[in-house]
Amino acid sequence: MFRIRFHGRGGQGMKTASRILGTAFFNAGYEVQDAPRYGAERRGAPIFAYVRADKSAINERGVIDRPDLVCVADDTLVGMPAAGVVQGMDAHTVLLINSHETAATWQQRLNTEARVLILTATEDVEDRAELPYIGSRCAAAAAALTNVIERETLVAALTEELGHLPADVITQNRDIALRAFDDMKQHAGLVTPGSMPSASDYDRPEWIEMPFDNAAISNLAIHAGATSVLVRTGLWRTMRPVINYPKCSGCAWICSTYCPDGAINVRADGYPEIDYDHCKGCLVCVAQCPPHAIESIPEHVAREQEAEASA
């Protein structure tokens, strides 16, 4: 059975990628499951979708934990534990990353046995949440790597799944997808179906025996307020608002009031401060600041600058 995971950010089209690939597999005579991970499918948030395809009935359910192929639309997710990109990878897995870096760099960074391939990042956009056509490119590259889906089958699946879009958008997606398909053809067949897990291979976890407790005391009751601050929604951010303090008039309420998340508070000195652990990067503050004292910069650039500054 083929087991393929697509990782990206909400808005990059990973659900669409899984649908295109799923439909292509189906039209090539496979039994198919394709599904996005249900949860916070929010713009910019780490999300994934997955596809299973087999010649016989698929009895496996749920999230894929032993992938044959992991396809990553946005390389800033690779090192993010919450995104779970490397989960379950082993020597059999192929890791395909949309990146400006080389395969050798990623191989070394991740110290992984998995084979790393690069889907060369073609479009340079400021806001990673708006990577164009990446869903179609990922689906096409995955199709080529399995070597069981023909060009025409891919095009038919893509046209079917994007059918609600204007004709020129479909054409654009098709052309870009086919370029990715042809580029990956040199590695055709590198992704092979993983074996079916058998009950005899199952490693018994190291169970800890716990006695039953009275439900009233074993249920963790949370009495603390505002525990949501433990959730780092700052990970969703693809563009970072940065306050230029010399330009800030210290009006003390506009950015702070309009920030939907309440992630801007006013300091004791009367100037606002952005909480980057939680700012989702909507940039309402950038749009509303009267003296234009808040700028936006790509999050990956901001992180690189921070890394350089601390080095």
Partner: protein, 309 residues
């Protein structure tokens, strides 16, 4: 609880500069509903219990995380006001039996989306107003079933594209006038609000803090995901909703309707429509002049009837 509180939101500088609602919620970046809620929460304060019908905002409190500092109760989509009745009754009984001191009392606040408020929760809401339930109801209206992918709801405006109105002319129906329906029950208070006009919002919340009985709020909630626009435009689109007259800010009490922020010269509605992907078919591939004119004429007719602006 003291029902007396002075009105002190005169200028923008009076708006709270630190926030009570916890960050880290799973709402989309640029959520207009959360923007309303955090302003309301800043003013109502911690002595509140929220009764939340199924919708986007039920994702706020997913165990063990909550942005609230007080209680929160989850109900099915149609029954939040009934849940509020139960909570209010329980509080009143405890107060009566002196098991709860008056300073421990809390305000019961219902939060629902437009699917519940305009549609399936209407009967329970009507009943709660009939019984003169002492509660606040906040409807965050993003004009569709946003949490499940923006299917149309009775709050969807004419011509908007939704995931269930994909034809070339969008949604054929018209937005229900929930303000009028609620006001017809003669509750203590009904108002329309929007986060993009924070001072108007704050004044209304301050006013209802000093009142009892059913206090009903409908907040238009610009929704980047459902309305298809760049999240940074959330406030701009909200402000245009007021300036074009699409979303009249008004309040009802004692049998009277008052407009609280009348646009001096209404901007053409297309300034509001063209920023949103859900109305793109009105402008591309060619301009649907008749469609835009119909929307404009309905807005003009509203303000003509209202005899203001």
């Amino acid at each position: 609880m003291s029902k007396q509180s002075p009105l002190h939101f005169h200028r923008m500088k009076d708006m709270p500069s630190t926030h009570l609602l916890g960050t880290g919620t799973p709402t989309c970046a640029g959520c207009g509903g959360l923007e309303t809620l955090h302003t309301i929460y800043d003013i109502l304060g911690e002595k509140t219990v929220f009764v939340n019908a199924a919708g986007c905002m039920t994702l706020l409190s997913v165990y063990p995380f909550t942005p609230f500092r007080g209680g929160w109760l989850y109900t099915s989509m149609a029954s939040a006001p009934a849940g509020a009745q139960g909570v209010r009754d329980a509080l009143d009984i405890l107060l009566q039996k002196k098991k709860l001191s008056p300073d421990e009392n809390v305000e019961v606040v219902v939060i629902t989306g437009d699917g519940a408020a305009y549609g399936m929760g209407m009967s329970a809401t009507s009943g709660a107003m009939d019984r003169n339930l002492d509660f606040i109801y906040l409807c965050y209206d993003n004009e569709g079933y946003g949490n499940t992918g923006q299917q149309y709801s009775p709050a969807t405006p004419h011509a908007a594209r939704t995931s269930t109105s994909r034809g070339s002319h969008g949604y054929p129906g018209y937005k229900k006038d929930l303000f009028a329906i609620w006001a017809a029950h003669n509750p203590a208070y009904v108002a329309t609000v929007i986060a993009a006009e924070p001072l108007d919002l704050a004044k209304k919340i301050e006013k209802i803090k000093g009142m009892s009985g059913p206090r009903m709020l409908i907040s238009l909630a610009p929704c980047p995901t459902g309305w298809d626009y760049d999240p940074q435009l959330s406030v701009e689109i909200g402000r245009l909703a007021v300036q074009t007259g699409v979303w009249p800010l008004k309040e009802y009490s004692d049998g009277e309707v008052r407009h609280t922020k009348v646009p001096k010269r209404r901007k053409p509605v297309e300034e509001y429509l063209q920023l949103q992907g859900r109305f793109r078919h009105l402008f591309e591939p060619q301009r649907d002049a008749a469609g835009i004119a119909e929307i404009q004429s309905r807005i003009d007719a509203y303000w003509e009837r209202a005899k203001v602006g």
